[in-house]
């Protein structure tokens, strides 16, 4: 399928960029005139993915997070990529309430939120190389 539009942005793994990333993704999707609920879902899912990259991908180190949004006629595809530690056990990471960082009061709900709020979720991860999260959301116009 031929994309209608595409954007790509990269930023440092600083927590201040969590709000930047979700605003950028939501603004990009807005050109398809989706419902308020769809925009809210995208905002939340992107926030989760970017937070994961910052906390779990890089932790104390600083690295680059890449956000890519591709618009198709009926849906938007959003990819969040980091080049950090990677996830050892993706299935375990997806388990609701599982977290490796209880010290940060992480609820362990990040992937559950992404799965619930988006229409598809794919996680590709290699230990020592990084993680790539690809999500899609149907864009029913108002």
């Amino acid at each position: 399928m031929q994309p209608i539009n595409k954007m790509r942005t990269e930023f440092l793994s600083k927590s201040a960029n969590e709000s930047f990333a979700r605003v950028v993704a939501a603004s990009f999707a807005a050109q398809a005139d989706p419902s308020i609920e769809v925009v809210a879902d995208i905002r939340t899912a992107v926030s989760e993915a970017v937070t994961n990259a910052i906390i779990h991908g890089y932790g104390e180190e600083e690295g680059t997070v890449v956000l890519t949004c591709v618009l198709y006629p009926d849906f938007v595809e959003i990819t969040v990529e980091d080049f950090g530690k990677g996830i050892e056990d993706v299935e375990k990471a997806k388990t609701p309430l599982f977290t490796t960082r209880p010290d940060l009061e992480r609820s362990g709900m990040g992937f559950t939120v992404m799965e619930t709020f988006m229409d598809s979720l794919e996680i590709e991860s290699r230990v020592g190389q990084g993680t790539r999260i690809r999500m899609t959301k149907e864009l029913k116009s108002r």
């Binding site: 927590s15 201040a16 969590e18 709000s19 979700r22 609920e37 809210a40 905002r43 939340t44 926030s47 989760e48 937070t51 910052i54 906390i55 940060l104 009061e105 992480r106 609820s107 362990g108 709900m109 990040g110 559950t112 939120v113 619930t116």
Partner: protein, 102 residues
């Protein structure tokens, strides 16, 4: 995120305003915990009526505060979350643990 405190009898009321994510949660958490320790209160009311965004960092913050309040025999109440915030609260099943005043 802006946080303001008031008291209603035995309860500390926390009015939160703005976006609650991982970036803002740590400072908010610290402020609530400090205030809760200083005030002669038992219960905690989180007023979410002015929270415009919340992700799972907010769930972590709410559950963490609930654990602290329950530890001293107090109760927690969530007040007036917007519809989009209600959605994530429902998804996380916080509603089954904490009283919600819509």
């Amino acid at each position: 995120m802006d946080v303001r405190f008031s008291r209603e009898g035995n309860s500390l009321v926390v009015m939160m305003e703005g976006e609650l994510d991982h970036h803002t949660a740590s400072r908010v958490r610290e402020r609530i915990d400090n205030k809760f320790l200083m005030e002669p209160v038992k219960n905690l009311i989180l007023d979410l009526s002015r929270v415009t965004f919340m992700d799972s960092a907010g769930i972590g913050l709410i559950l963490g505060r609930m654990n602290r309040v329950t530890l001293i025999g107090g109760k927690m109440l969530i007040r007036k979350p917007k519809p989009e915030i209600q959605r994530i609260l429902r998804m996380s099943r916080i509603e089954e643990l904490i009283e919600l005043d819509a």
